[in-house]
């Protein structure tokens, strides 16, 4: 059995590397068109992710909001890929807001809450923002 161990490890390493690289590309293809490469969005129509997205996971209902906003929920990403893109976005655009006990999204959680998409996002977003601690 021992001689099979190395190939198995190599395959696992290659697979995780491929996964790690797919999230930035999926962000480009599914999100960047509106949220822009630096996550800054467009004031008034596309919310900025910078120093913002990480704060949502710290308030009740915030994790569900990030999965159910129409851009996430209705994207063509699989549940697994959506979880990876959300983790990538949180680490890229709000690293200072990521708490030590941050629990990354996974496919199981995304599958549970993804449907139906939020039909009204403005009021939900406002409620979550007001629940956040002032800076």
């Amino acid at each position: 059995m021992k001689r099979f161990a190395l190939p198995a490890i190599l395959v696992a390493a290659w697979t995780s590397l491929a996964h790690a690289e797919s999230a930035p590309i999926n962000y480009m293809l599914q999100c960047q068109g509106c949220h822009l490469a630096d996550g800054s969005g467009k004031p008034g129509s596309v919310p900025s992710l910078v120093d913002s997205i990480g704060r949502f996971v710290r308030v009740p209902g915030g994790r569900e909001y990030l999965v159910r906003v129409p851009g996430s929920s209705q994207s063509s990403l699989s549940d697994q890929d959506l979880a990876r893109v959300l983790n990538y976005m949180i680490r890229s655009f709000g690293p200072a807001d990521v708490a030590a006990d941050f629990r990354p999204f996974d496919a199981v959680e995304v599958t549970q809450v993804r449907r139906p998409p939020l039909s009204e996002t403005e009021s939900v977003r406002r409620a979550l923002l007001s629940a956040m601690e002032p800076r």
């Binding site: 690289e21 590309i25 068109g33 467009k42 596309v46 129409p70 063509s76």
Partner: protein, 180 residues
Amino acid sequence: MSGRMDRLTATLTRGLARRTSRRSFLGALGASLVGGAAGPLLPIARAEGPAREPLPGEPSPDSAEGNPDGCSYWRYCAIDGFLSSCCGGRHNTCPPGTSMSPITWLGTCRNPVDGKDYVISYNDCCGKDACGRCFCNRNEGDKPIYYTHKNNDLNWCTGAPSMIYNSTVAVIVGVATRKG
């Protein structure tokens, strides 16, 4: 002496006047002026100029896949619009007088030279009337309007200072890797 000079001058002048006319002189003068001005425009020197160089890593501009002025250019695989390169701009810069919209349609196209899939951003150029030339609608990956998040029938000038659509560019923003 002066009388002989006078007769000689008179004879030569009359001879010249018999052989030519004022109209023919003006005609010859005009032809030399116009011909002289048109000389530098002749295509002889240009035809001997150097051929266009391909962009680094791209197909030869002599091929359809390597020519940014045509719809078959490899980067245009998911474009829907008038080619900026045909409207006074280039394949990656907007025509003068327009501004590039920051929000865009994105897709991947395979570069036939290195076989890699590149992420291409199709930024619209906005602020002048529709160019109307070189319409190119390859739009690979576009889905019907009921798949709202994969539909390209949008005016991406929504994100620009002016909503007026003119043309579209194709900018490389990344290299797509194998999906895990």
